[in-house]
Subunit: 351 residues, 2 copies
């Protein structure tokens, strides 16, 4: 099992509050200078973690708002595969631009050089391949569930991420944190309830199975990406992103060939693009980079909480932007999600 | 909603695990013999507590099932005030019967004698008076909320009971237990959601205010009953019940005079009674006694959990009895309530 190997090479690459805890718990050995240095680095890591988490939350919220906006503005007949390809290409370009700046200021080192070994790069196509399989399955699941039902089933991702995070990365969650995770899943689903939600209970067995497989694929891809990125903590994140996104481009190019080749040849690559399409591509690219940063400086659990809170923020912002009404289910779901966030934080302290 | 009125009178009251906890927490003073005696009594207290809690849960479930059954069987034009009076009278009779058995086997002692002092009995009318005020308010709240909306607002009782339990009985709940209480309220409300629930958000300010006042009255009555019953732990519960129910009879007699005097004079006291009415009266009487027992041997918190779990059990039993369908909201709410029960128990351990 390759991921285990990855994980083993990266022990103690844990999130920051844990480090803080262990610092507090252990008797301080060594010079006071040493302790101060450790404290300083922890504080700055914590700051970096907060910034990337906040960025992911804001980007995910605005992403959903752009989707609502684009739906309101009318249908867009652009091909989704070309848009996905452009998202990967933009992420690649942004990573290279960031690297260029770093090379100018710091020079090329072992950690920020673009050239890599087969051994390092061989695992990078895996997340992209998993997402491709998941996206292909997505076309078939709609034979069994409608789109709002699928939105509800997607909350299974929360549970699958937690379980795979535990199994693959071998990181322990406390009992209270597991409880918090179940509540996060229940709370997010509750917040999305509407008068048609009960139809999801009529989903046939095949539909449930596909939803579970998709949740596992998505969870696995997320956790595996974290394992790859954390494998070599000193490696520059932009180099890691570059290689992840290069394979993302490649797999999306295959998807264009398979699904939209005729449309692209006949109508052109950018057929049906508008300002909103461009904004959505930019937003997806930035969110994608924020996800990588969260994987590097925090973890998949933080990512799940961040995107769940973003879902609630989106609904609240939509009240002001689009005059949406919040349902009682939304308030109840938000309460449960808030309790979950609180329990997750106290669960960490009690670990 | 008429039956509900009866049900409400028997709501709210709790304390044995707390005693167990405080026993464990405190350094044991006195002889080892003393410690053993305490341990033995704790085990039997725990057993007694479990039995009364189970009885309350089953009786509350079957109560709701009788309500559904009576609705299915058609309307019953009996006067609710006479039924309430009979519930109190039956509880009084059962308490006296239990006392008669005890007097025969144990003789009359200071703890089981029926005669009382003014000082002891003066507080007993208070819970009955509070419930009467609450029931009168109930007629007015329906000008602002419909019956299903009122069912949802009644979940505020959970929070008010927790707050008043803390303030009046001065018993501490741990942070996790408070969190569990918020979840219990959110989970019960979620489980009751249906397509019309959002209307409750349109409740005018006066409606909210009345719902909060009613929740506080109900919570206060429950917590106050617990305070009365626990004031003298050695006092026989049947004597305490007898005095509580005597005042219940008195206040319900006033209600008959005020509300249904004409109907009783013209149509008779038992007008409109049927087998289901009788079964409901017996059930309410037994549930009322179970509530008192839970107040004596456990506490209001246990009572709230017991009636909440009963609500879920009722829904599940109704699937088999009446072919009801369970909603997705019900599953989500049940998950949150289950997590709440779990958190309450671990919150107790960590206190």
């Amino acid at each position: 099992m390759e991921y285990r190997r990855i994980k083993d090479q990266d022990k103690d690459g844990d999130a920051v509050p844990d480090d803080l805890e262990s610092l507090r718990g252990k008797p301080h050995s060594g010079s006071p200078k040493n302790v101060v240095a450790l404290g300083g680095s922890s504080a700055s890591t914590w700051k970096r973690k907060s910034i990337v988490t906040l960025a992911l939350t804001i980007l995910t919220s605005s992403q959903a708002i752009l989707i609502v906006w684009s739906k309101r503005a009318g249908k867009y007949e652009y091909s989704v595969t070309t848009a996905n390809f452009l998202v990967e290409a933009l992420k690649c370009t942004l990573s290279l631009a960031a690297l260029a700046r770093i090379w100018r200021s710091e020079g090329v080192t072992d950690d920020n050089r673009l050239s890599t070994t087969w051994d390092e790069v061989s695992v990078y196509p895996i997340p992209a391949a998993l997402y491709l399989i998941k996206n292909l399955l997505q076309y078939y699941i709609f034979a069994y569930v409608d789109a709002p039902g699928y939105q509800i089933l997607k909350n299974l991702n929360i549970i699958s991420t937690g379980v795979l995070y535990r199994i693959i990365l071998k990181k322990r969650l406390s009992e209270i944190q597991w409880t918090a995770f179940i509540l996060l899943c229940a709370g997010c689903t509750t917040a999305q309830l509407n008068s048609n939600s009960d139809r999801v209970l009529q989903t046939p067995f095949t539909g449930w199975l596909m939803a579970i497989v998709m949740a596992l694929l998505s969870g696995f891809a997320g956790v595996y990406t974290e394992a790859i990125i954390k494998k070599r903590p000193s490696r520059n994140i932009n180099v890691q992103n570059f290689w992840l996104y290069v394979f993302g481009m490649a797999f999306n190019a295959i998807a264009i060939l398979v699904q939209d080749f005729d449309a692209v040849i006949n109508k052109g690559f950018f057929h049906g693009y508008s300002l909103i399409t461009v904004l959505m591509i930019v937003n997806h690219a930035l969110s994608g980079i924020a996800v990588s940063m969260v994987m590097k400086y925090a973890d998949n659990i933080v990512k799940v909480y961040s995107t769940s809170v973003a879902m609630l923020l989106t609904a609240i912002v939509s009240v002001f932007l689009f005059g949406f009404h919040l349902s009682l289910a939304f308030f109840l779901g938000s309460t449960v999600v808030s309790v979950s966030v609180y329990l997750h934080s106290i669960g960490k302290l009690q670990r």
